[in-house]
């Protein structure tokens, strides 16, 4: 441990993130010179493995990129393929309301499962001063039991609709293999009603945590559904589709992605780094969605957000845990609305015939925009695939945050600084295995 002006801090394996990552900080003469977020998740080459597979296979194959958000991968892949093949497009085969409702409902289940995992089991221990949720359970058993019950409610949605919570089996290009009955969905209502109320209480609880100051003025990017595409009763907070919007004024269809965003490959990471075409960094995720779509929350949830200090845009990443809790309330609320509106489709899927060309698709994974692009030949075989997960888009901005955060906290000893840095990284709920292509902290003070 050192308080000298020159030092190096290394976190060799970052805990409570999904996947493997490390962080390296270089300090010289009391100035932070460099922060590197190292992703050492072994590369798995999904984009290469997809070549030669059929247009029907990406939902099952890309689900395996991430065990925490498989539905995000399944539905981004489906959006890309269906848009290319003329399904659910303005002049293409219409997509029945029942299938759309089931997809959004399934996704609500994943938001609940993933957000609750992160808020209570991965992130809350930082704020309450515990090494992890199991240690936290010794003093806060009621809290951990509530979190486990909330997760179970989300996993139940995934199981009833998806057939399995991790890597759902029932999702296919065109719809589902089997559509659940209204009665099967209705059975979940009492637990979802409990979950909605418990999530509201949980939001007030996490809003009471102490948040270090940090505001970097980042650009935020999210999806935003078109107003006239919304079904009656829906407020249209972005989940499973929408146009691409940013806080710098961009508003384009998903197919325009390659013109506005790209990925760089840097030596210290097997996750590629996402940047805007002008070279700027940007953030995706709950804060981005909230800042660009707060007007799309039902009034009761917007009132809750204002009550817990989120009346304005949320720019301090440490407060992202509060937004994640608000979104959890929304996911329960929206699930209840969707179940009420659900009409079982006549057929669980529409037929999708392959079309040669390139299709783009994106959805709001729990961690932010997940973009997929596929090129197909006439037979429907994949000739090219590109997958841009949320964590690789956030990584450059996280490094910028850390640079300033470490500079402001250099007075801390190495152990304390390490924990604070880990906490700053966990603000973004980084999913390292999702970075298809994550921590370990080293600080070198010279």
């Amino acid at each position: 441990m050192s308080h000298s002006h020159d030092r190096t801090i290394s976190v060799e394996a970052l805990a409570r993130v999904e996947g493997e990552g490390a962080m390296h900080v270089e300090v010289a003469d009391g100035r932070v010179e460099q922060v590197q977020l190292r992703i050492y998740e072994p590369p798995r080459f999904f984009e290469a493995m997809l070549r030669g597979r059929t247009y029907l296979e990406p939902p099952d194959i890309t689900a395996r990129i991430c065990g925490i958000c498989p539905v995000a991968y399944q539905l981004s892949a489906i959006n890309a393929i269906e848009s290319l093949c003329g399904v659910g497009t303005p002049d293409g085969t219409p997509m029945p309301d029942g299938i759309r409702q089931l997809r959004r409902l399934l996704y609500c289940g994943e938001w609940i499962e993933s957000h609750v995992l992160h808020i209570f089991l991965l992130h809350a221990p930082d704020f309450l001063g515990y090494q992890g949720a199991i240690e936290m359970a010794a003093d806060h058993r009621d809290l951990v039991e509530m979190a486990l019950r909330l997760r179970k409610a989300g996993n139940q949605v995934l199981e009833v609709i998806g057939g399995r919570a991790i890597h759902p089996i029932n999702v296919r290009v065109g719809g589902f293999h089997r559509a659940p009955t209204r009665a099967e969905l209705q059975e979940m209502v009492p637990e979802l009603q409990w979950g909605r109320e418990a999530a509201i209480a949980a939001t007030r609880l996490v809003a009471g945590f102490e948040f270090p100051e940090l505001d970097q003025g980042h650009t935020f990017a999210s999806l935003r559904p078109e107003q006239d595409s919304l079904p009656p009763g829906a407020t249209g907070y972005p989940i499973e589709d929408g146009r691409l919007v940013t806080t710098t004024g961009l508003d384009v269809p998903i197919a325009a992605w390659p013109e506005h965003f790209h990925e760089d490959h840097v030596e210290h990471s097997t996750a590629l780094h996402g940047r805007m075409t002008d070279g700027g960094t940007y953030l995706v995720g709950p804060a981005a969605r909230f800042n660009l779509n707060a007007d799309r929350l039902p009034s009761e949830i917007a009132d809750l957000a204002a009550e817990v200090g989120c009346a304005e845009a949320v720019t301090n990443p440490f407060r992202s845990i509060v937004v994640r809790a608000i979104e959890t309330v929304y996911a329960f609320d929206e699930a209840l609305r969707l179940i009420d509106a659900y009409e079982r489709p006549e057929s669980p899927a529409v037929e999708v015939r392959p079309v040669a060309g390139t299709g783009h698709g994106a959805t709001e994974a729990p961690r932010g925009i997940l973009y997929h692009r596929y090129s197909l030949d006439e037979e429907g075989l994949i000739t090219d695939a590109v997958i841009v997960p949320p964590t690789s888009q956030n990584q450059p901005a996280i490094e910028e945050d850390l640079l300033d955060f470490v500079q402001a906290h250099l007075h801390l000893d190495d152990d304390a600084l390490q924990w604070q840095c880990e906490q700053a990284i966990r603000n973004y709920d980084p999913c390292i295995s999702c970075s298809t292509h994550f921590l370990d902290l080293t600080v070198r003070r010279r």
Binding site: L14, A15, R16, V17, E18, G19, E20, E41, P42, P43, R44, F45, F46, E47, A48, M49, R51, R53, T54, D60, I61, R64, I65, C66, G67, I68, P70, L117, L121, P125, Q131, G132, A133, I134, E135, A137, R141, V144, E145, L148, R149, R151, K152, N155, G163, R164, A165, I166, H167, I169, N170, H177, R178, H265, E267, T270, W419, S433, T436, H437
Partner: protein, 266 residues
């Protein structure tokens, strides 16, 4: 057990994988706090930053070996573990990333990464048992939480865990599912795939796609011939059917190779 009369120490390790199998432990919502009271979670980075030094009584290993560093790390894990249990298709068969074993990893690396020289990787993705002795394996992509709970219970009780090695077909019969292959003409790997999922897919009107890998003594040539004759599957369809999450499990690997065109077969 290490440490004498104390609770057994458990470590959870990750290699190349999606985290889904270790997440299955956190997803045992009803049992998690009870289990946590019976065992000592000594190393589980996804759940806690608290790290207790080994050796460990039980190591749960997720993921496959794909880098030179990981090939060394798994030997160290074996050295400090009394019982080593592999969990999931990546650890037991190389996982979906073993599709590289059928292609050219150099081409894969250049395709995905602009600067391939930054990425250190082995030519093949391999199961843990190809590197170190494994005491017990749990199949599945992902594993079933109930099977993981059964294994932990069995170890705590000092008995052998009950995990089936028969096929998904048996589960379908027990569950009363209609046979999707015979009744609907849906291609199904159920006759050759190990049970454990309670025949989830046929219960959703879908054919089994092989998450649990080959069952004991699978007659894959017979199933492939039936799929060709009765459902008119062509060789490329059969290659893709057998070549997914358990592509490099020996029985599935042999069967997919049999249907490859001569010129690309190796």
């Amino acid at each position: 057990m290490t440490g004498g009369i104390g609770r057994p120490t458990v470590a959870v390790w990750k290699f190349a994988s999606c985290d889904g199998c270790q997440l299955s432990l956190l997803s045992a919502e009803d049992e998690l706090l009870t289990i946590a009271g019976e065992i000592e979670i000594a190393y589980f980075l996804e759940a806690t930053r608290e790290v207790k030094e080994g050796p460990y009584d039980i190591s749960l290993v997720e993921g496959s070996i794909t880098t030179p560093d990981d090939a060394e790390r798994i030997r160290q894990v074996r050295d400090i573990s009394t019982t080593l249990i592999t969990i999931g298709a990546c650890a037991t068969a190389g996982g979906i990333q073993a599709l590289r074993n059928f292609g050219d990893v150099e081409a894969f690396r250049s395709l995905v990464y602009a600067r391939p020289e930054y990425v250190d990787t082995l030519a093949d993705s391999t199961a843990i048992a190809e590197h170190v002795p494994v005491d017990l394996e749990l199949r599945g992509c992902p594993i079933e939480t109930s099977q993981l709970v059964e294994v932990i219970n069995a170890i705590l009780a000092g008995r052998k865990p009950v995990t089936p090695t028969h096929s998904v077909c048996v589960e379908c019969k027990l569950r009363g599912n209609l046979c999707v292959a015979v009744a609907h003409g849906t291609p199904c790997l159920g006759p050759v795939t190990q049970a454990g999922c309670n025949a989830r897919c046929p219960a959703f009107d879908r054919g089994c796609y092989g998450c649990f890998g080959p069952a004991e003594s699978p007659n894959t040539p017979s199933l492939a011939a039936w799929l060709e004759e009765e459902l008119a599957l062509e060789h490329p369809d059969l290659v893709r059917l057998f070549r997914s999450f358990n592509a490099d499990a020996p029985a599935f690997r042999r069967e997919s190779r049999r249907h490859e065109p001569e010129e690309v077969a190796t």
